[in-house]
């Protein structure tokens, strides 16, 4: 079996598949342990009830569904809420150590839109703890990891995925894997935007490869802005400032010193859901109340230097080193940054199986759990819960099937595509095209969207797609990042097109998708998910009904005296459109 990606989901899947007796190969683009999971700072959401004993999976389930504006896959949300506590405890058996309560249990902190204190954490480096524990486990189990290998195409035998093809980044040699099943755990696509908290790896490879192989891409228009990214200096723009800053009690002020979240969401304040906080900051800046470099101030000074250094050590270090700001003495300047893709490959809730036989997906590369907006901390638990499920299901699948046949023609064709930029007749610079795509997406399909800007953006993507065929990269196949970027760019263009096409069609504001020309929610669109699929090389769109909740879960969302949770609020107070009152 082949697992593509060695972040949280990929490693958890590999561990589970190996436990099921499969021979597992893991492939990752970077060195092991560098995946984007390390960037997760705040924590992992699981209803352990260690700090707030009233917490339980039903409340977590409701929070997740409400955060996702009810276009989530309810079954995924249910499994996630039920199973994440066990996955967290399991992680400690691999050697992880979370922060603790005085009596020795796992400590939990408050986070945006979680009803109770629910996030298990280790200071502000939870992701590192998680990835290192999983990495150690992988090493302990002797699972084979191929580092610095990029896969670019799934190989099919008829309908079925039977392997993958790509190249070794170090020497540029081609590699092909013949496997009974493939698990995509390739993460998201933040790199399509200019201001992002994502690393170079977040180019959407896995989802685009799945798309090319015929899998359905669900909810591509739902791209999350994290409300607090660094703003200044320019070099650090977009780098994440963890939500734990607000979880620990930090608050946001505008240039007039006013704590504006009291107005936009009096109940949850700074700990409202991410879409609401990001939009609030955006509106303050638009209204001329932004900070010097176009953001808001995030203040933790009242917590005291000692608590800041203990609970937020890497934030303290990050601002001191990179921005010359001592956060115990001055506020942080923050603005929204692209953070997470709620969309991804459409999967079956229980197994992570995509619509293509032999292809599974888990983590950010899969979609459905988070709906229109992800809650902070739900991503790490997503990786563990659905990583394990995909690993187990694929492990069972490979017991029943034989190896497929590798089609030489597919391999030859992909070789030709991959080698194209190295041949001498192109003129375009791959990095500059990438920058232009990022700029186009930032301008046209960013936080605030409207029909006109989206259509312009689509035109620019289609034009860039033409120009991408004429990329030329100097040098050899030996560790050549320019050459690597050229192939990544094709994936990014596919995903960008899917995002924009779906964003045009969703003519409403819901969760992370905010349309200036349709400020309200449309109940009809609240009943469907958009799906992008491959039709002879073109991105086509269709809708699917949102899976209907069984009655016993649905009744959790009916409140006495209110006819429908999707009732439309007055247009003058847009933030309310994102809430369903509890």
């Amino acid at each position: 079996m082949l697992v593509i990606g060695a972040g949280g989901a990929g490693m958890r899947a590999a561990i589970e598949a190996a436990a099921a007796g499969a021979r597992v190969n893991v492939v990752c683009k970077s060195l092991l342990g560098k995946a984007h999971t390390v960037m997760a700072e705040g924590g992992i959401a699981a209803a352990l009830g260690n700090v707030d004993p009233d917490d339980n999976w039903q409340v977590h389930f409701q929070d997740t569904m409400r955060g996702g504006q009810l276009i989530n896959n309810w079954r995924m949300a249910e499994l996630h809420a039920r199973e994440s506590p066990d996955r967290v405890y399991e992680l400690e058996t691999y050697g992880a150590i979370f922060d603790r309560t005085p009596d020795g249990r796992i400590l939990q902190r408050a986070f945006g839109a979680h009803t109770y204190r629910r996030l298990c954490h280790v200071g502000d480096r939870t992701g590192l703890e998680m990835i290192r524990s999983l990495q150690d486990r992988i090493v302990q189990l002797g699972i084979e990891v191929h580092m610095e290998v990029t896969l670019t195409r799934l190989l099919k035998d008829g309908d079925r995925v039977v392997g993958a093809f790509g190249y070794n980044r170090i020497d540029g040699r081609f590699v092909a894997f013949r496997s009974k099943a493939v698990i995509m755990a390739t993460g998201g696509w933040g790199r399509i935007y200019k201001v992002t908290s994502n690393s170079w790896e977040g180019t959407g490879d896995g989802v685009a490869m799945g798309f090319d192989a015929g899998a359905e891409v669900l909810d591509p228009e739902m791209v999350q802005f994290h409300p607090t990214g660094m703003v200044w200096p320019p070099g650090v723009r977009g780098i994440l400032v963890t939500e734990a800053v607000r979880g620990e009690g930090g608050y946001l002020t505008n240039s007039e010193g006013k704590r504006f979240m009291l107005e936009y969401d009096p109940k949850k304040k700074e700990l409202s859901s991410r879409d609401v906080v990001a939009r609030s900051i955006y509106k303050e800046v638009q209204a001329g109340r932004g900070t010097e470099h176009g953001g808001a101030n995030l203040d933790v000074r009242h917590l005291g230097a000692e608590k800041i250094k203990k609970k937020l050590p890497s934030m303290y270090e990050q601002f001191l080193k990179l921005a010359d700001v001592d956060i115990t003495k001055a506020p942080m300047e923050v603005a929204p940054t692209i953070h997470y893709a709620m969309g991804g490959l459409r999967v079956e809730a229980e197994t992570g199986a995509t619509t293509v036989p032999g292809l599974y997906a888990a983590g950010e590369a899969a979609a459905g759990l988070h709906g229109a907006n992800r809650l902070g901390g739900n991503s790490l638990s997503d990786l563990l819960v659905f990583g394990k499920r995909a690993g187990a299901a694929a492990g069972a699948y490979v017991r029943d099937v034989g190896l497929g046949k590798i089609d030489e023609r597919q391999v030859t064709e992909e070789q030709r595509i991959v080698l194209l930029p190295l041949s001498a007749d192109g003129t375009e610079n791959t990095y500059l095209l990438q920058q232009q795509l990022q700029q186009a997406m930032q301008d046209g399909a960013g936080l605030a969207r409207e029909e006109k800007s989206l259509k312009t953006c689509l035109d620019r993507i289609l034009e860039l797609r033409q120009r991408a065929a004429r990329i030329h990269v100097p040098g050899s196949r030996k560790y050549n990042p320019g050459w690597h970027t050229a192939r990544d760019l094709r994936f990014m263009l596919t995903i960008a097109e899917a995002i924009v096409r779906a964003a045009i069609e969703r003519r409403e504001s819901r969760g992370a998708h905010w349309r200036l020309d349709y400020l309200e929610k449309d109940p009809a669109l609240g009943r469907v998910n958009f799906i992008a699929y491959n039709d002879g090389g073109h991105v086509k769109l269709k809708t699917r009904p949102v899976p209907e909740m069984p009655a016993e879960l649905a009744k959790l969302f009916v409140e006495p005296g209110s006819p429908s949770p999707a009732s439309t609020p007055p247009a003058a107070t847009p933030p309310k459109a994102q809430q369903v009152r509890t």
Binding site: S30, L31, L32, G33, K34, A35, H36, V38, M39, L48, Y89, E92, T93, Y94, G95, I97, D99, R100, T101, P102, D103, G104, R105, V122, R125, G127, L128, R132, D136, V139, Q140, M147, S199, W232, P233, P234, G235, V236, I239, S314, E317, Q318, K321, L322, A323, D324, N429, Y431, L432, Q435, V473, P474, G475, S476, K478, Y479, N480, P481, G482, W483
Partner: protein, 350 residues
């Protein structure tokens, strides 16, 4: 404040060619880090310039390089720190692949040789660990595996002797495992043997370059040296045997005293232990009495408030070790220290 352009001298070359520095001029931007400058070069002048990077926020440890001769993370090094040209080269302790990229696979091979976390098979899940016992492990677990400490370690770098010593990174990893409150494995045999902890002579270069500010030498290597000394040569047990001749139920010491043999159950002042009675309460050793019994403080939780009840006298057969001795060993600590000093004097001669 855009001023004069920044001049970078970046090493270009690969394993097959000699290589050398190439000069680039990059426009200066406020707050720029070296990685920004390298990216600018990559996008505008040399698309094929090889470098590793991921998070750009000093959390992943990918962009290690030598900047003006000093091992550092490119993402965390501001260009306005320097006057004049900035020289950027690959880590020199590892074989060159191309430009700023080196072959660090040796580190991953070493990692595979270290026995992983091994809790007791009957340890109840979810785990209970006290905050004061977990806190010291956090320092080791902060490591982002940038391998700068490996790069600067004179054993690995100058003598190029990778067969004799695992290097600072893996001392930190072993320390994390050894100090884990619930780990049961002993790795001192490995430390004394293949891991080569004796090769380190405490020059502290590794801890100077650590971007996570882990006190590698002070808090990982030295305590591990102490532990190794205790387990391998066992002066503590020798003294303890003289002082406490009546310690019951202790198996005869194995003649070699090396890893593999089960270490005898020993208790020292400040050890965290667990009572065998129902509830397996935590307790802390206040004193080891001459008759071998322990004077302990027992932990009771009143809501979220800790309450230490005691001192109570218990027999060693009524308690279990939660894990090994803490940072300062109550008995024979001085002897160990003395031994270490001597050991180092001996090694430097050899």
């Amino acid at each position: 404040m855009s001023s004069a352009p920044i001049v970078l001298q970046i090493f270009r070359g690969d394993a097959d060619s000699t290589g050398g520095e190439q000069r680039f001029e990059v426009p200066s931007v406020e707050g720029m880090v070296v990685l920004d400058a390298v990216h600018y070069v990559q996008a505008n002048f040399a698309n094929d310039l090889a470098c590793r990077w991921n998070c750009k926020a000093a959390k992943c440890g990918s962009c290690s390089a030598e900047i003006n001769g000093r091992p550092r993370l490119m993402c965390k090094t501001r260009v306005d720190e320097f006057v004049g040209e900035i020289h950027v080269g690959p880590m020199r302790a590892f074989p060159l692949i191309k430009d700023l990229v080196t072959d660090v696979s040796w580190n991953y091979e070493v990692n595979k040789q270290i026995p992983g976390f091994a809790p007791a098979a009957n340890e109840p899940v979810p785990y209970r660990m006290l905050p004061e016992d977990t806190e010291r492990v956090y320092e080791y677990r902060k490591c982002i595996e940038c391998f700068l400490c490996q790069d600067v370690c004179h054993v690995l770098r100058n003598h190029d002797d990778k067969s004799a010593y695992y290097g600072p990174r893996y001392m930190v990893r072993i320390a994390a495992l050894e100090m884990h409150p619930l780990d049961t494995q002993t790795r001192t045999g490995l430390l004394h043997g293949k891991a080569g902890i004796g090769m380190c002579n405490i020059t502290k270069c590794c801890q100077e370059v650590c971007p996570e500010h882990i006190k590698i030498t002070d808090n990982a290597i030295i305590p591990l040296k102490e532990r190794t000394a205790t387990d391998v040569y066992d002066p503590v047990a020798r003294i303890a045997r003289k002082l406490l001749p009546s310690r019951a139920g202790q198996p005869a010491e194995s003649p070699d005293g090396l890893a593999g043999a089960t270490p005898p159950q020993r208790f020292a002042v400040k050890d965290v232990i667990r009572l065998k009675t129902r509830g397996r309460r935590f307790a802390r050793v206040a004193n080891v009495l001459p008759d071998g019994k322990l004077q302990v403080w027992i932990l009771h939780m009143n809501g979220k408030v800790q309450h230490w009840d005691g001192p109570k006298i218990v027999r060693t057969s009524d308690v279990t070790n939660n894990y090994g001795p803490l940072d300062e060993v109550g008995i024979g600590g001085k002897l160990v220290e003395q031994y270490i000093t001597e050991d180092h004097a001996a090694e430097q001669h050899g």
